[in-house]
Symmetry: C2
Subunit: 107 residues, 2 copies
């Protein structure tokens, strides 16, 4: 639990993973897709995700050099769990907003 | 995604939720079960989880007063997702440790 939350436990990492769910992307494409993240923070997050084997960074020796990021199988396996989390959040969000008191689960 | 990670996105909250998965607990019991958390941090986390409708705090007017924490239906609904996250982490942990290079998922 400690470990998996440490991997995911920032605002940005799930957003980066989600942005790569269906396609590879170059740094500039990712940065444009995510919008409000700084280049410095995006660079740091990409390095950490690569170190955690969630992303693969591929460098192509072209001129100008091209770098592409994609999800590894481990990263791909996170997607359905993240979608469950979004579903969970959405399904309770309106309920919470309505001021309906939360009920205890007994037993 | 922002919102659900903001709710979960600390080291401690998933551990607190998990500790309450099968039973109510008083503050002292939670503190003992979790071990390394400070009382100040545990107090703050419990307040935030209550505000997010994940925990219910029940006060019993006894002498000495008794306070019990339990999961709401929203909190209970998080448990299977958290278990999936643990399973995900465990299934790739040994693989990563072996130094096996992560492979890209193409297509």
């Amino acid at each position: 639990m400690h470990r998996s939350m440490a991997i995911l436990g920032t605002k940005w990492k799930p957003i980066i993973i989600y942005a790569l769910r269906e396609r590879k992307a170059r740094f500039g494409q990712l940065h444009a897709a995510i919008g409000t993240i700084s280049k410095k923070v995006l660079t740091d997050m990409l390095k950490e995700l690569e170190a955690d084997h969630i992303l693969l960074r591929q460098e192509f020796k072209e001129l100008p050099p091209r770098v592409e990021y994609s999800l590894t199988p481990k990263g791909k396996a996170l997607i359905p769990i993240m979608l469950d989390l979004v579903k969970w959040d959405n399904s309770y969000y309106e309920y919470d907003k309505s001021g309906h008191p939360a009920k205890a689960v007994t037993g």
